[in-house]
Point group: C2
Chain length 238, copies 2
Amino acid sequence: MNLHELKSVCGNCGIRELCLPAGLSDEEVHMLDQHMAHRHPVRKGEYLYRMGDPFRSLFAVSAGFFKTSLLHADGRSQVTGFHMMGELLGLEAIHNEEHVCDAIALEDSAVCAIPFDQFEHLGQVMANLQHRFNKNLSREIAREHGIMMLLGSMRSEERLARFLLDLADRFAKRHQSDSEIILRMTREDIGSYLGLKLETVSRLLSRFHDEGTLEVRGRRVRILDRQALIRRGSEAIS
Amino acid sequence: MNLHELKSVCGNCGIRELCLPAGLSDEEVHMLDQHMAHRHPVRKGEYLYRMGDPFRSLFAVSAGFFKTSLLHADGRSQVTGFHMMGELLGLEAIHNEEHVCDAIALEDSAVCAIPFDQFEHLGQVMANLQHRFNKNLSREIAREHGIMMLLGSMRSEERLARFLLDLADRFAKRHQSDSEIILRMTREDIGSYLGLKLETVSRLLSRFHDEGTLEVRGRRVRILDRQALIRRGSEAIS
DNA sequence: CGATTGGTTGAGCCCATTCAACGAATGTGG
DNA sequence: CCACATTCGTTGAATGGGCTCAACCAATCG
């Protein structure tokens, strides 16, 4: 075992309740530990996997921040998600045993690799684990429905407001500040995710800043007026 | 047992290989049949389920056509998908045991209800079934990534072209014509799904018609020039 | 039959894009 | 260390694609 690939111990993990073992008994988590989950670092800018790579493992983000994105034949790309501590990466690759998007670390990160065939075996003997996993997949589908709503029927201000509130909530769940956000991604990444151009994102951030809703200094964003942001995120259009 | 709720027999089902039992052995399909899957009709316009309904069963579409849509507090709605023979409905509801969208029959249809707790038990003893189900969920996630790409970075012509090609392909897989499409949904539904207004959809269909790519007569659409449509569906923007 | 729903088309408008210039921050090699 | 390139972000001006508003038609249904 090399220094960079340590046996992880979900039982001791600070984010256990955010991650795959959420809701499992100590005994069950111990079983999970026995069978899998090696932890290894991924440095900023590195690909965790690429489109077309064979799918062998799921990855649980144990530290850091990732984006996933699709690359289209004509060069356009679409960011499909941002992923932080406790979230699973690679779910979309199960169906044809091949990764269908790129996963890139946006800061120095670490992941726990979960060999999927072993995981499926374990799911057979641990109903609870399988149940949690089903829910995990289902939640991802529901989450993407929300993004379809965002992309399909919201205007730019709304999209950005909701994006920031979502990020803040997710950080808050991880015991970080829910008002001081450090964006790990570029304006272009945000724009791609939200179906906007980077200039539009920049202008919106400036506008929110000027109105006193946010304080924006580069990638440091502080939410000054959460209520205003919530209002922005649910304007009636029609 | 009433006349409208018949024990279905996946083993004899014409769409078995399109549906949940795909890839299962005869014996396995028999087990599936023993435990679940009652078939019942859903008439045009009826709700199969609504947002907020408790989640108890998945549904396999055995005939007909459904749309799923989100209803937002301010009245806006977003169509999240169209679903035909062999596709599963309700996957997005597993995670919090409550439906998070509406499912509405767009024509007289029929579904097989699959009580989810029983299904999970069966998954525990039939690794193959569980494996297929995992793939099914994963494919749904990957499909939605594609829609994010569509909504986030394609222009209106491309969106509609791809939508029609996707529909045609799915009909073709079900042994129906791949060039003669009967749209089951309104222009407004299409627009909602594609992030466009109904007038835009109408104009685009007229344009494709005038250019000889399609023949459009109300909800009857015939693909006259598939190559042209494919080209429309992959124009480089930038 | 009138009422309602669904679809088409036109004219004008507006929000986000495009194109462009510039500034700040970071990194690199001589 | 500085000169330079590169990446990232901001801001302005002009454009245009899809939206809004509106009129009208066709089909369907009580």
